[in-house]
């Protein structure tokens, strides 16, 4: 049943979908960031939000700004990235790594870990703390990458709002942290600054999972809450990249709602912990 109201709505919706496709194509051609295989519902939400927030009449007007105003793309990249993160997110994930995975990594003379899609770095400092407590830090190299240079800038600084510390402390304790969380930072007015030595073995670098190739050969890849934004094809492409990056017997950790089971590389891995989404690359 098409009422007149509903007919207008359908036409608007169709037009918006065309404009979104054009915008995404324009961004790819102009800036090299490829969002063509990202989930559309989430992109549409972000685009409509930005269009409304700027008081623009259409997505085409947004596209005009993206193409003609150089700094404007930074804002769109931020909108699309969803850089929401926290320290020791899903404490059970970290506790499982401590118990099941790090003891195995300890058998290597040196360990390389790739944190892909590390956002503003909360995950990076969480890993540095955990690895330190598990006695591995001195022989570990962490590669922390993201495609958003502005998020990486924040990550390098390691300064976060003090208002989050209560939650982070609770997460840290649930993750079976071994010390007092406050040992790792100093408070300064409304902020906390994480200790410099936590970044000693961390390399922060720009890397786009969609358009760049293998970053380094590593013993563990952690990529959490990034694949949920990709369609099936892109998920397959990116998990293949992870598999190629891992040494035999290396580990892969995904977000709590992400799953290797439905991807092309499933036979190359065994499950270490199904609930926490931790996998091990087979030796043969």
């Amino acid at each position: 049943m098409e009422t007149p109201l509903n007919k207008d709505y359908n036409a608007t919706n169709l037009t918006q979908n065309i404009e979104i496709e054009l915008l995404i194509e324009a961004i790819y051609k102009r800036y090299g960031y490829d969002f063509r295989n990202y989930n559309k519902a989430h992109l549409k939400r972000r685009i409509l939000f930005r269009t409304a927030a700027l008081g623009l009449n259409s997505i085409s007007e947004l596209q005009h700004k993206v193409l003609h105003e150089n700094d404007f793309f930074d804002l769109i990249l931020k909108d699309f990235s969803i850089n929401v993160t926290e320290m020791f997110r899903d404490p059970g994930f970290y506790a499982t790594l401590r118990r099941e995975v790090l003891p195995m990594l300890r058998t290597y003379p040196y360990v390389k870990i790739w944190l892909a899609g590390c956002s503003t770095g909360e995950e990076v400092y969480s890993f540095a703390i955990m690895i330190k407590e598990e006695g591995l830090y001195e022989r570990t190299q962490i590669y922390a990458t993201d495609f958003n240079p502005i998020s990486l800038e924040t990550a390098r600084k390691g300064i976060y709002p003090i208002s989050r510390i209560k939650d982070y402390t609770a997460n840290y304790q649930m993750s079976e942290g071994k010390q007092s969380f406050s040992d790792y930072y100093v408070a300064h007015y409304e902020s906390v600054i994480f200790n410099q030595d936590l970044r000693k073995n961390v390399v922060f670098a720009e890397h786009n999972l969609v358009t760049d190739s293998v970053f380094a050969e590593v013993h563990m890849v952690i990529c959490r809450n990034v694949l949920i934004y990709f369609n099936k094809d892109l998920q397959n492409k990116v998990v293949r990249l992870f598999s190629e990056s891992l040494v035999k017997g290396g580990f892969l950790g995904l977000g709590s709602k992400e799953n290797l089971m439905f991807t092309d590389v499933v036979e190359q891995f065994t499950v270490v912990d199904g609930k926490e989404k931790i996998y091990k690359k087979k030796i043969i």
């Binding site: 009422t3 509903n6 519902a41 939400r45």
Partner: protein
């Protein structure tokens, strides 16, 4: 009118209200139902297991990239927004809270309106905030059908009241009449 999906948003008091709806549905009811119930980010999957035992529908926590199928009821996982893609698959997001909530009812409703247009029913149940009001409006703008639990039958009436304010055309029903209405579709 053939409806292809039902989306439901509930908050404080929602567990009981959802249970009433589930138990009131005929065994032949097979339109997919997608639910956002506000809950703590650290909740486990108790609710989906519990409802699955009660219902003839297959009740499960939504997985990303999952196609929406008949005779299924999908619940948003704690701490994730749940969205419907226009190809009728589900997707998840960890973006900022909306209306202080993640999952947010508005996020689900808005994306479902894009996906199903006039073939969608949106239902707002009991709750202590105003999540869902904006999303329900979007469902009606798309030509879909809006239902609101009558504030008198809601454990917490704030959410129904704010939905009624925002969508004066919505059908307001007593809780126990909502499943009866759905059975007659």
């Amino acid at each position: 009118m053939d409806f292809e999906a039902v989306v439901i948003g509930s908050s404080a008091g929602g567990l009981k209200a959802l249970k009433t709806i589930i138990l009131g549905l005929d065994k032949t009811f097979s339109i997919p139902i997608i639910v956002v119930q506000h809950m703590s980010p650290h909740s486990d999957s108790f609710m989906s297991r519990y409802f699955n035992q009660l219902s003839h529908l297959q009740v499960k926590e939504a997985d990303e990239r999952e196609p929406v199928r008949p005779s299924h009821m999908y619940l948003a996982p704690p701490n994730y927004h749940l969205l419907v893609e226009e190809d009728k698959t589900l997707s998840l997001s960890v973006e900022e809270k909306v209306n202080y909530a993640r999952p947010s009812i508005d996020v689900l409703f808005e994306s479902a309106a894009f996906a199903w247009g006039s073939r969608l029913i949106g239902i707002v149940l009991t709750g202590a905030n105003n999540d869902g009001a904006t999303g329900l409006k979007k469902i009606t703008q798309a030509g879909g059908l809006a239902i609101i639990q009558s504030p008198e039958t809601a454990e917490v009436p704030i959410m129904p009241i704010s939905a009624i304010d925002n969508c004066p055309d919505a059908i307001v029903l007593k809780l126990e009449d909502i499943p009866l209405f759905l059975n007659k579709l």
